[in-house]
Structure formats: C-alpha cells, structure tokens
C-alpha cells in the first residue's frame, strides 16, 4: 500500500474555523505536516495548485481558505527538513514552458536527492489565462495534446545528459514546441522525476496510461474505484506497460475515533463545520446558478429552477447537469425531511473512511486487496495537524498487518513506489 499526504487546500473541506487550525501559508505549517507524513513513512507529500483566486458572483470567494505558496519553492525548502519523503508539485502544463519547468523539476530532484514528482494538470480557461502571457483558452482535446507533448519534451531534456554525466545538445520539433539547445542540469537522480496525472476524462485516463507513474483520482468508493482501476490498468498494455507501472491513488478522507460510533459522531461534526450556513447557500448557488442570498439555510430548498450554463462560479469546474442535481437534492430533502444546509451536508461532503483505527485499517487494506486502489492520497481537514491521528493510530496497525512499510527501504520516491527507473533514451 502507498500513502501520500495532501496539504489541505482551498475548499470548504478544509476547516479553518476549528481552533486547532493554523496558518495555511507559514512555512511551519508545511514543515509540520511533512514531518508527520515522514514519521508515518508516507510515500510523498502533495501540493495542489490554483493560478487564480476563485470567484463567486463576480467577487473573490471569501468563505474558504484563500492563498497558498508556489509549490516548487516550498518543496525545495521542505527538502531541507525531510529526508525520505517524496515531494510532489502540481504544475499546470498549459501556462508553463517545457525548458523552464523541466529545469525546475530536475533541480528539485537533485536538491532532494531523488524525491521529486510532478502532478501534470491541464485545466485552463480564459479566466485563469488572464494572469498569463499565453492567455486564452485551450479546449480539452488541445490541453491534453499540449500536456502529452510537454511531458515527452521534458523527458527528452532529462535524457539529454547521459547517465554518466555528459551533456548533449537536444532538439525537439513538434506541433506545440520547437526548441533546441543544451539542458543545463544533469540527468535527475531518479532519471525522470515521478509523473502524476490528475484528471478523469477519457483523454485524461489515456494520457495517464501513456505517460504517468501515478494517477490521482477522485474515485473513493469501492465500486467506482474497482471500475476505474480496471479501466485504467487495461489501457496500459497498448503502451507496452505493465499494470504495476501506474499506481492508482484516490484522494480520500479519514476520520477515526476510539469506537466506530465515536468516529461517526466526529465525522458528522466535521461535516457540519465544513458546511457553514454561508457555505450551504454558496454551494446551492453553484448548483442553481443564481443568487440565493435571500434564502434561509435552515429552511427548505429554493422552489425555483436552476439556471443552466451560469458563470456564477469562476475558477472551479462545474460538474453535472444542474436540473438532475436539483431533482436529486429535492428527492433527498423530501424523503429525509432535510433543510437546505442538511441537504448540502448530505450530498456534497464525503468522508471515505470512518471508524476506529482498526476498522479504517481493515477497509483501506480491503480497497487494495480488491483492486480499487494501489494506495491513497489522504486529504486531512485540518492544517497542519490533520494527519496526527492517522499516523499515530492507523499506520501502526497497517504496519502490524504487513500492509504498509515499517521503514523506507530506499531513498528515492521511485523506490518507495516500486517504480523502475526510466530507461535512458539518448
């Protein structure tokens, strides 16, 4: 089993109102969470990315945690205070250039002695583009075309030094990039930093099957996880890859307590913290596509139809057909007699693993045994203490049963993940 730690981010699942919540930006927060993950012998520490502050109703969204550091810079600093933990940066392939990013990733791999990973994301829209020279919008198919050529080009650059340390000129000529010269950093300790992909569409899965070492997915239930796992692993053969060459790691949340009942109670409390009355209205506005500030979060669902294709929220992907979602919410609200806020809590929050440490350890192990995942990216709801319970109480049980390592056996992220070093293609 592989385990990674996600630094809590900018959405309402991160509970900032909790008295234990600390800064989302001070280095001490990053250091503490990373040290906890390393104490738990985790494979890697993961940072997400956002390139423009989200907006709602034409104004900066103000209810959730806002503001974060630039990923690669923080991870280089974390390399100074950790020894074995992998360091994964989410970096957009749309608003960067291969030469610069390949150099920055190779640098992190050198400075961390082989612990770097790159989560390749593609999301781009005109909204985000307003902060960049490139500007503009790439539609989905083009985004993955660019991402695929981006990764291939980065690999050419990393391979432009021989493993024994001689540099050779490179030249890449493709539809997206026509670049040449000499790469200034020797081949990274891992050969190539680990490549992670996060994205779920058919194009996204295909891209992951062809080019990624790890896939970060949202499929957190056993059923959905199994389907996803089977689908993605089946795609590998077409690229001459083995099932073990791509690790599937869903993002999951864990809540523990002394007993299953206590854990359930804590989980319910966390859900209420995550969906404040203000957040309930805002979430509903995202679905209805219109201003609902006049509605009472403790009252019934708005009796109006949603507005399709609304741009009420910017900087966040809108999922699904709003009419279908509203219909489902109404059914749930009526069947269970739930208020608007209770309905939002019921439908939008998701805690994947809730129970005593023993229950959670058993369920996580079952997910891996039943081929729904190769491991998990844990998304705590508190900064920076959100992993303490898991590391102190669940990890020892996983180690006892032999499901998880008791010590790092290698020093690089590739070795933690059991991934082979990429063959040098000079």
């Amino acid at each position: 089993m592989h385990l990674a730690a996600h630094f809590p981010g900018v959405n309402n699942t991160t509970v900032w109102a909790d008295p234990r919540s600390r800064s989302q930006i001070d280095f001490s927060s990053f250091e503490q969470l990373a040290r906890t993950a390393e104490r738990g012998k985790f494979d890697f520490f993961f940072l997400a990315e956002g390139l423009r502050l989200r907006e709602h109703n034409g104004r900066v969204h103000d209810l959730d945690v806002v503001g974060r550091p630039e990923s690669l810079t923080v991870l280089n600093a974390l390399a100074a205070v950790t020894d074995r933990l992998g360091l994964a940066a989410t970096v957009n392939a749309t608003f960067n250039e291969p030469y610069e990013l390949a150099r920055r990733l190779a640098t992190l791999d050198h400075l961390s002695a082989g612990r770097a990973a790159w989560n390749v994301v593609t999301s781009s829209d005109a909204f985000t583009g307003e902060n960049f020279r490139r500007g503009g919008y790439l539609d989905r198919a083009d985004r993955y075309t660019r991402a695929a050529e981006f990764v291939a080009t980065a690999r050419e650059l990393w391979d432009s030094w021989t493993p024994d340390g001689t540099s050779r000129p490179f030249a890449h000529e493709g539809p997206q990039f026509a670049i040449s010269g000499e790469f200034t950093v020797p081949r990274p300790p891992q050969g190539h930093p680990v490549v992670i992909q996060a994205g779920d569409s058919d194009e996204g899965r295909e891209f992951a099957a062809s080019a990624a070492d790890v896939i970060f997915t949202r499929h957190g239930t056993l059923e959905a996880g199994r389907d996803f796992y089977a689908d993605v692993k089946a795609r590998l053969a077409a690229y001459g890859r083995e099932p073990g060459d791509l690790k599937i790691m869903p993002g999951v949340t864990v809540v523990t307590g002394d007993t299953d009942a206590e854990a359930q109670e804590r989980a319910a409390g966390i859900r209420r913290q995550q969906v404040s009355p203000q957040n309930a209205i805002l979430t509903a506005e995202q679905i209805w596509g219109t201003d609902l500030s006049a509605y009472d979060p403790d009252g019934p669902l708005p009796a109006i139809d949603p507005v399709p294709d609304s741009e009420i929220t910017q900087g966040r992907v809108r999922h699904g057909d709003p009419f279908a979602i509203v219909a489902r919410w109404r059914a749930i609200s009526e069947a269970k007699g739930l208020s608007l806020r209770q309905t939002v809590i019921e439908t939008t929050t998701r805690q994947s693993f809730i129970g005593s440490p023993r229950t959670v350890a058993a369920e996580l192990t079952a997910f891996v045994d039943e081929r729904a995942a190769d491991g998990f990216i844990l998304v705590p709801h508190l900064t920076p203490s959100g992993l303490d319970d898991f590391v102190d109480r669940v990890v020892p049980l996983l180690q006892e049963s032999g499901a998880f390592r008791t010590e790092y056996t290698g020093s690089t992220l590739r070795s933690h993940l059991g991934l082979p070093e990429p063959v040098w293609k000079g």
Binding site: L51, P69, N131, T184, V185, S276
Partner: protein
C-alpha cells in the same frame, strides 16, 4: 558626494556548478557567520547549474539570518509565476528574500523556449522593469490584514482587502490578485545590476538595491548620485535606495602585496572591477571607499567561492568589524532590516485609506 551611511556587504556564492545543496549551504552559512546582508546566486537559462531560486529555497530553512537573493530572469518566464516564486522564497525564509532581476539577451536562450527571438537589451530591460513593477503590485494585492478568519460571518478573508492589479504592459498583462498572500517583508527586496544603461533606468525606477561598477571612488559616487537623482525623478525617495559597488575579488595569494595602482582603487577588468590582493587590502579599500561616501556597500564576487569567501569573512569582514566599520551580528530578522529599508505599506491599502477620507 553624499553622507556616509552604515556599511552593507553582500557576496555571490555561485561559481562552477554544484548539483547538491551542501555546497551552497556551507557558503551561505559562512556568509551568515560574517553577518553579511545577503548572498546572491547568479543564474541564466544558458549556463550550467541548478535553478538559483530553488537552491536558495533549499538553503532557507537551514539558515537563520542571511538574506537570500537569487538571480531571476524575466525574458522567457511568466511574470505571474516569477512574483509567486519570489514571494514564496520570502515565506520559506521568514522575510529574507530578494531577487536580482536580469534579462536573457541571446538567441541561444531564445531557442530554449522557442516563443520569441532575441531582442535588444533596451526592450528587454523595459520589460524587466514591467515585471518588477507588476511583481510589486501583486505583492501589495493582498493587504496585510486581508485574512480575517471571521467565524461570525463565515468569512476567511475580507475580499475588499484583495485587489486586482489589472496591469497592462507592452508585452504582457496580469489581472491578479496574487495567489500568494502578502510576503513577510511586504515586498521582497528587488536588486538590479545597473552596469548597463537600460538596466540603470530600470534600477532607478524599481530597485531597492542597485549594484554598480566603478574603478575609482569618485566614479562610484558619480554613478550613485546619478541613480539616486533618477530615482527621485521617478518620485522615489533616494534614501530608500542602497547602492553597492560590485567587485570581483581574488584573494588567492595572501602574501602578495596589492598590484601597483591598487592603492588608489581596484583596476578594471572585463565587465566589472577586479580586485586582487589580500583580505587586509580589501578591507582597506572597502573602508576607504565607504568613508569617501562612494557607496552604501559592496557586493563581492569571489572568483573561487570556497576559498575566497572564507577569506572575506574571516579576514576582511573580521577586520572591518574590529575597526567598528561593520556590525558583528544581524540586528534584525529580515533582509529589509539588514539593509535599513522600511517595510512598505501596500499601495492599495494606502489608496483605500485616502478614498475613505474623501
């Protein structure tokens, strides 16, 4: 010549490339032991070596006081990313970050990106100035007290204290606000090497620290006066500017007396000034120029960092400290404090305060 200010010293720790952190960490700690204001680490996309900002981020948690100033080029990068990375260096170093803005002039560098051809320095420095400008705006775009964590209203931030920068430059535009909250220093320190004409213009407008080159104290003073006058013409307070003379130093042979002519100043070699002699001679030269009011300090580039930085710290700096010309410890925690520069208020907070009064 202007009145004498306290002496500032900085050192470059680059040289032949190293691909591990240990080498750079040792040098940065050495400079920190000497209470130097900051270390610089040169960089360009065309020279072998690691990304300089990343190296200094790696050094940050393992040092306490020394200022960290990587070279960051602006020609082929995204201004938004540049400002985020420098702000983050300030966060991870708890207020010790600067950046030395530079341009990429060669066709070889342009080919690494394949997006534009090489351009003349004047145009590139115009752009670099705009990158410095927009970076300052982005660092200001979060007022210091924007994060409120107000549980009563459920608001994490006061969005009235976040600002769009809406910057329109000649080659790029940025909407803002920043993703990274306002850094500890308000604005990390902007350093520009003003050796060339177009760079001098950008330096006068945007730099907090200006590196200049001169062969005599008189010449240094003249350039310093020119930079300060230009800054004033741009509406800036010249007192909020530090002008450091850049010297390449070779302390290789401590036994050798200074070469003829050095008594009155170092001799020009290549692009900059080049000093060869012993640590004591270097201390004399620094003291003499500083006493003459020729500069606020010196940026020293040792030709062999491992050897010469040690001699600078344990020889030159120790002597200057002994003569009470240089401090023996860092009086503050941030690079701005070392340099005696105030922490700037956000321009948007100031504008809002004025708007309120009207």
């Amino acid at each position: 010549m202007s009145a004498r200010t306290s002496l500032h010293l900085a050192a470059e720790i680059g040289g032949p490339p190293h691909y591990d952190a240990g080498h750079y960490l040792r040098l940065a700690r050495l400079a920190e032991d000497g209470a130097l204001d900051y270390v610089t680490l040169g960089d360009s996309f065309a020279r072998p070596g690691l990304d300089a900002l990343a190296v200094l981020a790696r050094v940050a948690p393992a040092t306490d006081r020394i200022g960290l100033v990587p070279t960051v080029t602006t020609t082929h990068t995204e201004p938004f990313h540049v400002s985020s990375a420098v702000a983050t260096l300030d966060w991870v170093s708890r207020g010790r970050a600067g950046w030395s803005a530079d341009v990429s002039t060669t066709e070889a560098e342009a080919r690494l990106f394949g997006r534009r051809t090489a351009a003349p320095p004047a145009a590139l420095w115009q752009e670099a100035g705009e990158v410095a400008d927009v970076s300052g705006r982005l660092w200001d775009s979060w007022e210091d007290d924007a994060e409120i964590r107000d549980t009563a209203t459920g608001r994490f931030i006061d969005r009235d204290k976040l600002h769009y920068v809406d910057f329109e430059g000649a080659t790029f535009s940025v909407r803002g606000p920043a993703i990274v909250p306002r850094p500890p220093q308000g604005r990390p320190v902007t350093v520009i090497d003003a050796t060339t004409g177009p760079a001098r213009e950008a330096a006068a407008r945007h730099a907090d620290v200006v590196h200049i080159r001169a062969t005599t104290p008189e010449q240094a003073a003249a350039v310093r006066d020119e930079v300060r006058a230009k800054a004033a013409a741009h509406g800036r307070d010249p007192g909020a500017l530090r002008v450091l003379v850049a010297l390449t130093v070779d302390l290789g042979d401590m036994e050798t007396a200074p070469e003829p002519g050095l008594e009155s100043g170092p001799r020009l070699a290549g692009r900059g000034t080049y000093f060869r002699g012993g640590p004591v001679d270097l201390a004399d030269l620094i003291a003499q120029w500083h006493r003459a009011g020729a500069a606020d300090g010196f940026h020293l580039t040792p030709i062999t960092p491992e050897r010469d930085l040690e001699r600078i710290v344990n020889g030159t700096v120790a002597l200057l400290q002994h003569r009470s010309l240089f401090r023996t410890f860092h009086p503050g925690g941030t690079l701005r404090e070392h340099l005696g520069l105030v922490r700037p208020a956000s321009r948007y907070a100031a504008a809002r305060a004025v708007a309120k009064e009207v």
